[in-house]
């Protein structure tokens, strides 16, 4: 069992490490957010008495990178089952659950690697975590975010029928998840509707968790963040496994 999961995981990681252009291309938008927003909104953020904006948003941009990468790897299922390798795995004499786990963990690992690259970019831009000791804990939160959204991607990728749905998901799910997560603005004193929406967005807890660990500023508290993320991850993995078992090709 473990070698099946391992080889499917390895496949995702190998493919990632080989696709240099893709790595560079996918760094574009987070770096743009970091550069343009980080430095552009910095002065006004400081004037509002909130301190360094770069310091505030860096965990958010790392979270965004993980969100996009892991969601995308899940949704790629859609393509993969018609023109790719997925069909080969679906006729193999192994339970679909193993395949789903191997694939999802692979996607999550790729997202974490990508998040780490952005973390380094943030550091170069001037972001400073509280200390080196907190980095492993931050990694744990990155992993939680990655698993949550790789699983969500699997749910969606297993359910969509064609490529048209993909654009819909990007515009009405992925972008809102990012903008409502508190990656770019503090969650205090928000209008009621927005406050409510941010609370049902799982990424909010991921970003808050990372921010707490890395900068000491918190909104929900570390325990609450971790509990919510673990609960959502388990739920989505279960739904993902169920949807994946229903794929017909």
């Amino acid at each position: 069992m473990l070698n099946v999961i391992f080889i499917l995981w390895l496949r995702e990681v190998k493919k990632y490490l080989r696709s240099r252009t893709q790595i560079i291309a996918s760094l574009g938008s987070p770096i743009m957010y970091l550069g343009v927003l980080g430095f552009g909104l910095g002065p006004i953020f400081r004037k509002a008495g909130e301190g360094s904006y770069l310091q505030f948003m860096a965990p958010g941009v790392v979270g965004m990178t993980i969100l996009f990468t892991s969601m995308f790897s899940g949704i790629a299922l859609l393509w993969d089952r018609q023109f790719g390798f997925l069909k080969e795995t679906l006729v193999a004499p192994v339970p679909r659950l193993w395949i789903m786990i191997g694939r999802t963990l692979g996607g999550a690992t790729v997202a974490i690697l990508q998040g780490l690259l952005i973390f380094v970019a943030c550091f170069i831009a001037g972001f400073r975590p509280l200390s080196v000791v907190v980095i492993p804990l931050a990694l744990l939160f990155m992993a939680l975010i990655a698993v949550v959204f790789a699983a969500l991607g699997t749910v969606i990728g297993s359910s969509l029928k064609d490529m048209q749905g993909f654009q819909l998901v990007m515009n009405f799910l992925v972008m809102p998840i990012f903008f409502l997560s508190g990656a770019l603005y503090p969650l205090t004193n928000l209008p009621r509707v927005l406050a409510l929406l941010t609370r049902i967005d799982p990424l909010t807890y991921g970003v808050d968790g990372m921010r707490t660990v890395l900068t000491g500023v918190t909104h929900f508290g570390l325990t609450a963040d971790a509990i919510v993320l673990v609960a959502v991850a388990i739920t989505l993995l279960t739904v993902g496994a169920w949807r994946f078992s229903k794929i017909e090709i």
Partner: protein, 261 residues
Amino acid sequence: MIRVEKLVKRFGEVTAVDDISFEVQRGEIFAFLGPNGAGKTTTIKMLTTLLQPTSGSLELDGLDPTVHRDEVRKRFGVVFQDPSLDQDLTAWENMEIHGVLYGMPRKERRERATTLLQLFELYERRDALVKTFSGGMRRRLEIARGLLHTPKVLFLDEPTLGLDPQSRNQMWTHVKTLNDRDQVTVFLTTHYMDEADRVAHRIAVIDHGRIVAIGSSAELKEQTNTESLEGAFLALTGTSIRDETANAADSMRQIARMWRK
């Protein structure tokens, strides 16, 4: 080796496979010949455990694919209509993953992968990424991979679609050699008459989900009083063109073609 009885598959209102029965003997090359949308792929999907039949019974090497799923899966290899190789991996890596998925011990897996890659003339290129391969090489690799776990039956769903005549020729030569040497039963679908004529021991002509004739190429010609298999085919299925309604897979196939250019 394969036994199908009164097999029916409905998708909502549409009956894709409508009460078909046939048998394939051990070591035989059996072809499903039919126009687009005749139900060829649907039948293969049911035999390969990817679809559940609406009614009827199936048997592969004495086992029911709907009940003993994993046991049946070990007994067949399949090459689908659409490619299912991982293009960002090397030929060797594609073989390796297949071996692991089928639970083959490392030593056996490597030995057999070497033999098959040599047989299909791909060994020299084993460490090249699949995306650098030509269409014919990719098809050969898929067949080699499908044979890695020594299956008793090999399913080939329109394996020569989009290949040039040289690659088609070479591919069938390999398939015939394997069939002769290892007695692998081959179940193939195609809409190229000449291919069925050349490689298949027996041919079933399928149309609108029904088998309209079954027999050797000579028998079919005799039955319809025609000179060629093409004549027999047209006599059996008519000359009208089938307009399949495009489904999600077709529209994706179109996008895929655009990207490949």
